[in-house]
């Protein structure tokens, strides 16, 4: 896992992802500097976490790291040396997903905490940081596992992932309530709603959302392990 983590973090694309992850912080800095009289810090914070952080920033960062966990090794042929070992396929996948998840959190957690501190100002509370953080952490896990599975199933995992994030989660699931049930971001947003009542209505309670996100991660990891054992390798 440490090897994958190192390979994921020490890449040029990590700088690009870090710039994407820092976007909410920059927005919060601008907001804190301007402090419009007619807006509440809570509205700003819940909006930025609900509309930008969980469904876009967190999703994209986790997608790229999740795809790269196996994708890079598929590309350079290293995956053959990993597969040709007596390690259980699920153990290999779990290590990769864990590495992608940690790499994502390295960028996302500081960004969310800084956004909360700067955006909320005096109205910051532990709950307003920790609950959204739990949503980001768990949705990142689900995105990473699903992306790792996609990278072993298709040749265009990033494109498919972006279509899912932007078209399904970002568009269809926002006006069709039943579609939101198939949205990772919607379950991540439930944690924001739990901490900030002003946020939009959650798709499920936090316990159910946590269970669904963990279930998605487990199912995707199982699927990835099956693909690793039965798919065509380069």
């Amino acid at each position: 896992m440490m090897l994958t983590l190192r390979a994921l973090l020490f890449q040029r694309r990590t700088v690009v992802l870090a710039l994407i992850a820092v976007a909410p912080v920059v927005t919060a800095v601008v907001y804190a500097a301007a402090k419009p009289a007619d807006s509440s810090a809570t509205d700003f914070y819940s909006g930025i976490v609900e509309q930008l952080f969980v469904p876009t920033i967190g999703a994209l960062v986790a997608l790229v790291f999740g795809v790269s966990a196996f994708g890079d090794e598929r590309e350079d042929g290293t995956i053959l040396y990993l597969v040709a070992t007596p390690q259980a396929r699920l153990d290999l996948v779990a290590a990769k997903v864990a590495a992608a998840w940690i790499a994502s959190l390295v960028l996302l957690v500081p960004s969310l905490v800084l956004t909360a501190l700067l955006g909320l100002g005096e109205s910051v509370t532990a709950g307003r940081i920790l609950w959204p953080l739990a949503g980001v952490v768990l949705s990142a896990l689900a995105y990473c596992a699903a992306s790792a599975w996609l990278s072993l199933r298709t040749r265009r995992p990033v494109v498919i992932g972006i279509i899912y994030i932007l078209l399904w989660e970002g568009s269809i699931a926002t006006f069709a309530a039943s579609a939101a049930k198939l949205s990772i971001a919607a379950y991540g947003r439930s944690f924001v709603a739990h901490a900030i009542p002003e946020a939009s209505a959650p798709v499920a309670g936090v316990a159910a959302s946590a269970a669904v996100l963990v279930l998605i991660a487990a199912a995707a990891s199982w699927g990835a392990a099956r693909s690793l054992g039965h798919g065509e390798l380069p």
Binding site: D76, T78, L80, Y81, V83, T85, P86
Partner: protein, 312 residues
């Protein structure tokens, strides 16, 4: 996990409309087995199927009696050198081999790695990153990672590619020794003399078909004994020369086109003795004698035709 090291039964593999391997059946026993064929013959596909990197479209592949795709434990007994890609190029050679040992559940991975590096003569460069290595050195890293857990079966896809003559000789000696120790070594190559130097047994693949298999000397005999064609240009009465040649036992057919004779023989050595005598008798002066279709592609084509003829 017992049984033959490798067992293919009616194995075919196709990708869309392209048949990469067609109804291939063979077994591999301890010793060195050469997998010989031109580029695109199906050698890499065969090794990928052995290694569990691909699923047969039809038929079954068994390695030590099990399907490697369903039983990862079998990889404790298999060492693999794929044709392309270097393992974890950002790591040092030592780290790569130690990691490979750990992944193969070797208890003393450090000393096992040191031994494997010593075997491939990389101890001096062990602490340099693999990405700085030449192709030949990378090949040796790949060989070391395949040997570190002392596998019973080694699957090597063109392992001599990129090695200089000294390294090549060293690798051949190593593989021959491993075969003599009772391990099963399957090594692919498109170079016949390379395979001859290390393999006790050869499987010849042409266009996805297994066209010949047997001991290396038997395959060599088969190739040497095939009908040969020789082109002869001579000054003088070429028709008389053709008649003289046909009167002997060494020539099966003679064609005359544009003043050039194309002679078909199954005994080229005997023809080389008979030809000057026939030229003297026909009062002709030999100007050019050259073999036709003596390249490896022609050898493979002959074996393919021979196998098809037998099948019919």
């Amino acid at each position: 996990m017992s049984g033959r090291a490798v067992e293919f039964t009616g194995v075919s593999r196709w990708y869309g409309d392209t048949v990469s391997l067609a109804d291939v059946t063979f077994t591999v026993e301890p010793g060195v087995t050469g997998l010989l064929g031109h580029n695109g013959a199906g050698k890499s596909t065969t090794l990928k199927l052995c290694a569990g990197f691909s699923t047969p479209s039809a038929g079954t592949v068994r390695v030590f009696g099990v399907d490697p795709r369903r039983t990862p434990e079998v990889y404790r007994r298999i060492g693999i050198v794929p044709d392309h890609g270097a393992p974890w190029p950002f790591l040092t050679a030592r780290s790569v081999i130690e990691l490979s040992a750990r992944l193969h559940k070797v208890s003393d991975h450090r000393s096992a790695a040191a031994e494997a590096l010593e075997t491939v003569d990389l101890t001096g460069d062990a602490d340099r990153p693999v990405r700085e290595f030449s192709h030949g050195m990378t090949q040796r890293v790949k060989l070391a990672q395949a040997l570190v857990h002392e596998p019973d079966l080694l699957l090597l896809d063109e392992p001599l590619n990129g090695l200089d003559p000294t390294q090549r000789a060293h690798a051949i000696a190593l593989l021959t020794r491993l075969g003599a120790e009772g391990r099963t070594v399957v090594v692919s190559s498109h170079v016949l003399h390379e395979v001859e130097r290390m393999a006790d047994r050869v499987l010849v693949l042409v266009n996805g078909h297994l066209v010949a298999e047997g001991s290396t000397p038997a395959i060599r005999r088969l190739i040497s004994d095939r009908p040969r064609r020789v082109e002869v240009t001579a000054a003088g009465n070429v028709r008389a020369l053709a008649r003289e040649l046909l009167a002997g036992d060494d020539v099966e057919a003679v064609r005359l086109a544009d003043g050039t004779l194309e002679i078909e023989t199954s005994n080229p050595a005997s023809l080389s003795r008979a030809l000057p005598l026939a030229a003297t008798r026909a009062d002709t002066l030999l100007e050019l004698v050259r073999p036709v279709g003596d390249d490896l592609e022609s050898v493979y084509a002959y074996l393919h035709e021979r196998a098809r003829g037998r099948a019919r």
